[in-house]
């Protein structure tokens, strides 16, 4: 219940924060909303020597449009994202996903930057990031770089972020016309995390065929992934129940699902298919309604 002692910094600017993480390297931990880090510290599964609380860097908590991109600052809370009009308009999938994370209290504190950096294999956001082809921006004292979501998640709780880097924002490209999206999730009953979560974006062409589909899956494997086989089956086809069912069957092809007391590998695989199909159905209905 009680974290080990640490030294605490609360920089007010990104530059100050970058200087601190550079100076303390591996021994420093960034603290954002604390909804993953503090529980770990309380169990002493994480015992940082220095904690750099970036929660006071105002500039990192913003949601804005920039040249057609939706730009979400790393410190935007799940609640900020779920309730933002701009997100609902430009990337409704993200708002829907945010609303499925944890509970009200967690959404009030937890941040998008923290969730992506932490990269829990059962976290919700990563699926949406993949399905939306998001770009993740990381800053370090030597400048910033942009990482495509598909390259960001490396392994169990491991991302492209390097020590000394701070995730500053997430950039979401504009959706094509006639797009629809949906997130469907099977909750782990105790923790509320995803046992299987499917974030889907589909876009239709003028004749109602699927121009492109993107399916991000979380909770199933050590890292979130795009169901590219299923996406390929959908592209260019006229949607039908059979097509959706056949494509969904394939979503976890080629991945090795996780197994634990909450679900076996076989069940995770099956649940991923079912939830992907349900997300596809909902996304298509929305695309057909042109609500996006």
């Amino acid at each position: 219940m009680i974290p080990a002692a640490f030294e605490y910094f609360a920089p007010k600017s990104l530059d100050d924060a970058l200087r601190l993480v550079e100076r303390h390297g591996d021994e420093a931990k960034l603290l954002a909303g604390g909804q993953s880090l503090i529980p770990l510290m309380k169990l002493r599964l994480s015992v940082p020597r220095y904690v750099v609380d970036i929660g006071r860097i105002r500039s990192l908590r913003s949601i804005r449009e920039e040249g057609g991109w939706l730009v979400i600052g790393a410190l935007s809370t799940h609640h900020d994202v779920e309730s933002s009009e701009m997100v609902r308009l430009m990337a409704p999938l993200l708002a829907e996903t945010a609303s499925e994370i944890g509970d009200v209290q967690v959404r009030n504190r937890g941040t998008i930057g923290g969730s992506l950096s932490h990269s829990d294999p059962a976290a919700d956001y990563p699926a949406a990031m993949l399905a939306l082809d998001a770009q993740i921006v990381a800053a370090s004292s030597s400048g910033t770089r942009t990482i495509h979501a598909s390259e960001f998640f490396l392994d169990l709780m491991t991302t492209q972020l390097r020590p000394g880097e701070i995730l500053t924002e997430v950039r979401i490209p504009r959706l094509p016309e006639r797009s629809g999206s949906a997130y469907r999730k099977l909750h782990q009953p105790a923790s509320g995390f995803a046992l299987a979560g499917a974030a889907v974006r589909v876009s239709l062409d003028e004749v109602g065929k699927i121009a492109s589909a993107a399916i991000g899956i979380t909770g199933v494997a050590v890292r979130p992934f795009r169901a590219s086989g299923a996406e390929a089956m959908l592209a260019g086809k006229k949607p039908s129940p059979k097509l959706l069912a056949d494509a969904s069957e394939k979503v976890a092809d080629g991945v090795e699902p996780l197994a634990d007391i909450h679900a076996s590998a076989a069940y995770r695989r099956a649940a991923a298919s079912v939830y992907a199909r349900r997300a596809l159905e909902a996304a298509l209905a929305r695309a057909e309604g042109e609500k996006g």
């Binding site: 219940m1 009680i2 080990a4 002692a5 002493r44 099977l186 009953p189 105790a190 923790s191 007391i261 909450h262 679900a263 076996s264 069940y267 099956a270 649940a271 079912v274």
Partner: protein, 786 residues
């Protein structure tokens, strides 16, 4: 009832709530004393290991640390945890307060660290170095009983703690006459009680008075006092146990724990107040668990559904050591195994099994949910096999209302019941017939609706002392103070059930005063008479009756005094609304205040009447009470994922007369939801090393608000003749009646797949597997029936 009823029977808002909703009530952890130290327990990470050495030197040197104790330091000073249950030929398995030489479950205490504050304490606990030599762990019940199994306790012949058996009627003949024998093997899984307030203890010693005060989050303040005095060999008159607010117990605080004794021992030794508060993970490991019984049941049946006989063999997972009632709980399963059916030929064998796990003990329902589950599942298996409607099968085997008092083959006397009445009401309220039609229609479309019934009877108001390990009576003292206010001292120890309100209702009505004129005092052993405590749905029926009897005594005395003052025959007087009024001439009256005043000024008392207004009653019940009811659960199973949606829930309970329907409703709702937890979500899962894999709320799911629908609850009222208010008790009904209804519903939903039984919890994957591995259906695709 003798008095004009004003408050009894009404849904009175609770008196305890204003302080609780404002956050100004106090639980143990809210208390702070000057100079207070904090105690922490270093616990074993192994289920079974030899303790080679414990090195406390680094911990002792850490900042803020005051003391570190190991088993050696308390040997001879603190006796093991008491077990009040004795079963013939039971093997000994006493729990030392700190492990000596060997640890026998994950979470067993090895060292006690005391420090100036929580933070320093936490740091120091990591510095205690224990050298363990892991030993093979005993986890699985069947394997535990094999000859070649490792022993939980060296030197015992085997891991069977005891064999308990009971036989009634002629079982052999019943099975010979049977058209069919229906067999079912079932598991009632181990559960973790999860009271929202973990345990907490604060001990203070005053050397001047040689007085030891123990604040504990407990359901049994007096028993705790006696046991602590005995464990520490401290004079009982010097031990003061105080139980402030308790954040839920469900049986988990009906016990005596090492931390209580250790905190007291340390407070004496250090002459400083010592507080211990349990973390949730500790709570999962080292507070008692519940259930953990498996059963092989056979029912001998006639083709028409008549049950002729029953055989049941139960294995009960006791854990590594006995807590207060550990061995007793499974025997309650034995006593109630025939449920609410006329099964006069039966045999039950129970084997208590020692395993390398935390002890099981009384968790809400304590032995009866297991019995009810087993018999109700088996009844559904019979119904399915004979193709008889489950409602019809139950109806057929109920004893009739005129058969009560009804003697069971297990030796109990059921007080009174109308099982048919509750069943019919439940069928009507749930629209049972229509549901069956709907089910058939949905099945044609490939949808899986399931309807489950459970008719239960439970044993409550524990109980006559002859049948209880440590007395089954309850006490009350009532004092009418000179100003006319009424102080009720009860030996019961309510902790959320609301008896401050229901007891006030009883006293106010009986004495003709207002609700706010009454105060209920409980949980302070120096203030209230010796009592047994709150568990076994006994508080109202036994503790409440003690109050009722005290009120009768006081009322008689008041009428005598008033009669003397009014020159009226006391038999012709009644007490009401703070007046004592003549029945013959309602204009003739004297005020309650004046009468009370006369009792204290003692100048105008009738001859032979003592001054003052105080009465004490120790109420000894003549029997248990046996509440009953029928629950109906309606579920829909998602055939693709195995998710179960509870569509509708109808509960009909009969707990006799209702003193406060609001409180009854609260108990029923809460109990059913705990039951939903057992049926759908909860299980203490161990690996084969004896590690608890569901050791925290991240992995052990208890129901949340969104997991449950609105429950529809109804009552039939069959007052018990056992006590004067005709109340039976309702604290555990929900956890007893609901579990089988849910499982029966899910199994019913899966009937098209030939599923006969599924063990709890009905996790999605388990249900999904049952569908997808079913022989009669291919890969779960909807099959259109012709």
């Amino acid at each position: 009832m003798a008095t004009a009823t004003k408050l009894i029977g009404k849904p009175i808002k609770r008196k305890e709530d204003p302080r609780l909703v404002q956050g100004i009530a106090h639980y143990v952890d809210d208390l702070t004393l000057p100079g207070m130290l904090h105690l922490g327990i270093v616990r074993s990470p192994y289920a079974h290991a030899r303790v080679r050495s414990v090195d406390v030197s680094k911990a002792l040197a850490a900042p803020g640390v005051v003391a570190v104790l190991t088993a050696e330091d308390v040997q001879g000073a603190i006796a093991p945890i008491p077990c009040a249950a004795q079963i013939p030929d039971m093997k000994p398995a006493p729990r030392p307060v700190l492990a000596t030489n060997e640890v026998r479950f994950v979470g067993e205490g090895v060292a006690a660290v005391v420090a100036a504050d929580r933070y320093a304490l936490r740091d120091a606990m990591d510095l205690v170095e224990v050298d363990y030599e892991p030993l093979p762990a005993v986890v699985d019940l069947e394997k535990a009983l094999r000859k070649d199994s490792p022993r939980v306790h060296d030197g015992l012949a085997d891991n069977a703690a005891y064999h308990w058996a009971l036989e009634g009627g002629d079982v052999k003949k019943a099975f010979k006459q049977a058209d069919r024998v229906v067999k079912l093997r079932m598991l009632n899984q181990r559960l973790i009680p999860v009271a929202m307030e973990p345990r907490a203890v604060l001990a203070q010693y005053d050397r001047g008075d040689n007085r030891l005060t123990l604040w504990s989050s407990s359901q049994i303040p007096h028993i705790l006092r006696t046991q602590i005095a005995a464990m520490l060999n401290f004079p009982e008159y010097g031990v003061y146990v105080i139980v402030p607010e308790v954040g839920g117990g469900f049986g988990s605080k009906l016990n005596v724990y090492p931390e209580e004794a250790l905190a007291c021992h340390l407070a004496i030794k250090l002459e400083k107040p010592v507080k211990w508060n349990e973390g949730r993970r500790e709570n999962f490991l080292s507070t008692i668990h519940g259930r953990g019984e498996s059963c092989d049941m056979e029912l001998a049946v006639k083709r028409d559904g008549t049950i002729l006989g029953m055989r049941a063999r139960v294995l009960a997972d006791l854990g590594a050591y006995y807590q207060l009632l550990t061995p007793l709980i499974p025997t309650l399963t034995g006593l109630m195994i025939c449920g609410c059916y006329r099964i006069q030929n039966l045999s039950v064998e129970i084997t208590g099994v020692l395993t390398n796990k935390m002890a099981t003990d009384a968790y809400r329902g304590a032995g009866r949910p297991e019995a009810t589950y087993f018999v109700e599942r088996a009844m559904d298996a019979v119904a399915a096999e004979l193709k008889i409607d489950p409602a019809e099968l139950r109806r057929k085997n109920f004893p009739k209302p005129k058969d009560f008092p009804y003697a069971t083959a297990t030796g109990l006397i059921y007080d009174t019941a109308n099982y048919q009445g509750a069943l019919e009401l439940a069928l009507k309220k749930s629209g049972y017939k229509a549901l069956r039609r709907q089910q058939a229609a949905l099945r044609k479309k490939g949808r899986l609706l399931g309807i489950g019934l459970s008719s239960y009877v439970e044993i409550c108001a524990l109980g006559p002392s002859s049948a209880m390990p440590a007395g089954g009576w309850e006490s009350a003292t009532i004092r009418i103070e000179p100003t006319g206010r009424v102080r009720v001292l009860t030996g019961s120890s309510p902790h959320g059930q609301g008896e401050e309100t229901s007891f006030s209702q009883i006293a106010a009505d009986m004495l003709g005063v207002g609700l706010d004129d009454v105060i209920i005092v409980h949980g302070d052993t120096s203030a209230v008479p010796y009592g047994i405590g709150t568990f076994g749905s006994r508080t109202l029926a036994v503790g409440g009756t003690a109050i009722y009897r005290c009120c009768e005594k006081l009322r008689d005395k008041l009428l005598k005094i008033a009669g003397h003052l009014m020159q009226e025959d006391p038999a012709k007087l009644v007490l009401r609304a703070k007046q004592i009024v003549s029945k013959r001439d309602p204009k003739k009256s004297i005020s309650f205040a004046e009468t009370v005043g006369a009792a204290y000024t003692a100048k105008t008392l009738p001859p032979g009447v003592e001054p003052g207004l105080e009465a004490t009653h120790f109420y000894e019940p003549s029997n248990f009470t046996f509440p009953f009811g029928t629950h109906v659960a309606v579920v829909e199973v998602d055939r693709e994922t195995g998710e179960v949606k509870l569509v509708k829930y109808v509960a009909v309970d009969d707990c006799g007369n209702l003193i406060n329907p609001l409180l009854v409703e609260g108990q029923v709702q809460g109990g059913i939801v705990q039951s939903i937890g057992q049926a759908m979500l909860e299980e203490a899962v161990y690996d084969d090393q004896g590690q608890l894999l569901t050791g925290e709320l991240m992995d052990y799911a208890i129901p949340r608000a969104a997991d449950v629908p609105k429950l529809e609850t109804f009552h039939t009222v069959t007052p018990t003749p056992v006590n004067p208010m005709g109340v039976k008790g309702v604290g555990e009904a929900g956890t007893i009646g609901a579990t089988p209804a849910l499982v029966n519903a899910v199994v019913d939903a899966l009937a098209p797949f030939g599923v006969r039984h599924l063990d709890m919890p009905l996790k999605r994957e388990r249900v999904w597997k049952a569908i997808h591995q079913a022989p009669s259906e291919s890969a779960g695709r909807p099959r259109r029936s012709k």
